[in-house]
């Protein structure tokens, strides 16, 4: 490898990969990097990172909803954090907030609004060839969520190509605590007792509906707040 002198070569920092990749293909620095197995592997890994190539088993739609909510809670709205509190995982923060009964309904509603904004409005993203989650699921939404007669009644719009739907409930820490279905209809009545048995102590939840096709998730609705009290 004529461009590579392994006696003097220093492998490129990972942080510098972006700059190296922008160099012309015949630039000496890039040539040297491509000639070193370790640097070449780093460059290839970085390209792969940027490509967002699909990975079997990954649940991108669910990840999008939860990471949008995470950013909404931890980055966009850190003003809600107590003074001096060290940043940490969302679960602890949410649970502490959840201890405030007065704030809780308002916070759940605020979180839902932020999640909705995150899911529906992503102006910087270029059109994606692959359905990746709620952000591309325009038209698929929860139409109503209401408590009546000891049951939570959820209704949603139909999604083209879906053959079943699943109602998903998230706890305050945004973990997936219960799933109901799949059902072929576009509504479901879930006894509150069933919810509480699977999410004990959780009175404030987020509700989302996933559209399925042959068992695969093809769309996820924007989450809606649910208050079981």
């Amino acid at each position: 490898m004529s461009q590579h002198d392994h006696e003097t070569h220093a492998c490129i920092d990972v942080e510098a990969l972006g700059a190296v990749l922008e160099l012309a293909a015949d630039h000496p620095v890039r040539g040297e990097a491509e000639a070193c197995p370790r640097c070449a592997a780093r460059l290839e890994a970085y390209r792969e990172f940027l490509s967002q190539a699909e990975v079997e088993g990954a649940r991108e739609a669910d990840a999008r909803v939860r990471l949008d909510a995470f950013r909404a809670a931890r980055i966009d709205a850190p003003v809600l954090r107590s003074a001096g509190e060290a940043p940490g995982r969302l679960g602890t923060w949410w649970k502490r907030l959840g201890e405030s009964r007065a704030l809780r309904p308002a916070l759940v509603a605020a979180a839902a609004v932020l999640v909705a904004a995150a899911v529906w409005w992503q102006p910087w993203e270029s059109p994606a060839p692959v359905l990746r989650g709620g952000g591309q699921d325009a038209g698929f939404a929860i139409e109503s969520v209401r408590l009546a007669g000891g049951a939570l009644d959820v209704a949603w719009s139909a999604f083209a190509g879906a053959d079943a739907y699943e109602v998903r409930l998230f706890a305050m820490d945004l973990t997936d605590v219960a799933r109901f279905g799949p059902v072929a209809e576009t509504h479901l009545s879930i006894p509150v007792d069933d919810i509480l048995s699977r999410a004990p102590g959780e009175r404030s939840l987020l509700c989302s509906v996933a559209a399925l096709s042959a068992g695969d998730e093809v769309a996820v609705s924007t989450p809606e707040p649910v208050d079981l009290r």
Binding site: G18, A41, G57, R64, F70, A117
Partner: protein
């Protein structure tokens, strides 16, 4: 993330968004800029982390940790690098810390290698010390290009074998596994030759 102020970010570069955050880190606009630039990469981060841990919840944990570290240390991003590779470096470190390190000459994914070469072997000391600089030279000198790529992605980037199979477009049922086994056999043979003084002697 936008949340009402995101429209202005549509055409902003990553580095512009970081500058906006650093100019007003306590303002809603500044935080929105930070959230926006992290949001641009959250799916890439999730997929990258999922490749390593193959577990949805663990991958989300890694992404959240990566985002928080990046957010808290955005002031340390001086714009010398591209934001994307700065963020990638954080995620990569977290992923590598989260998994068992793959050794250059021995790999749990290549159990057949141990059968092929039972008992004490000349490369034993290198397996233990992982003399990477020497092995780097041998990788360059002894392996064909696809073997170089496969072994480097596996051992330096610690990527899963099935993912390397896809990246390299390797055909066949065993995918990159066969390529990796072949690469390791060649390396061991080269090391043995050098250690026995038949291939130019020891480098150091």
């Amino acid at each position: 993330m936008s949340y009402g102020v995101g429209e202005q970010f549509r055409d902003a570069s990553d580095e512009d968004l970081v500058r906006r955050y650093l100019a007003a880190p306590d303002s809603p606009g500044g935080r929105a800029a930070a959230s926006a630039v992290l949001g641009r990469y959250q799916n890439a981060l999730y997929l990258w982390c999922f490749r390593y841990v193959r577990d949805h919840e663990r991958a989300l944990d890694l992404v959240q940790d990566t985002m928080m570290v990046a957010f808290e240390h955005m002031g340390g991003f001086a714009g010398r690098a591209r934001f994307s590779s700065w963020l990638f470096a954080i995620a990569r470190n977290r992923c590598l810390n989260a998994i068992r390190r793959v050794r250059l000459l021995d790999d749990g994914e290549d159990a057949l290698d141990a059968v092929a070469e039972p008992g004490p072997s000349p490369h034993q000391s290198m397996v233990e010390t992982e003399d990477e600089e020497r092995i780097l030279r041998l990788i360059r000198d002894e392996l064909d290009p696809i073997e170089q790529r496969a072994l480097s992605l596996r051992c330096f980037e610690q990527l899963p074998v099935d993912h390397i199979t896809r990246m390299l477009g390797v055909e066949g049922e065993t995918g990159a596994r066969t390529v990796l086994q072949s690469a390791r056999r060649k390396l061991r043979a080269a090391i043995s030759r050098e250690d026995q003084g038949h291939g130019g002697g020891r480098i150091r």
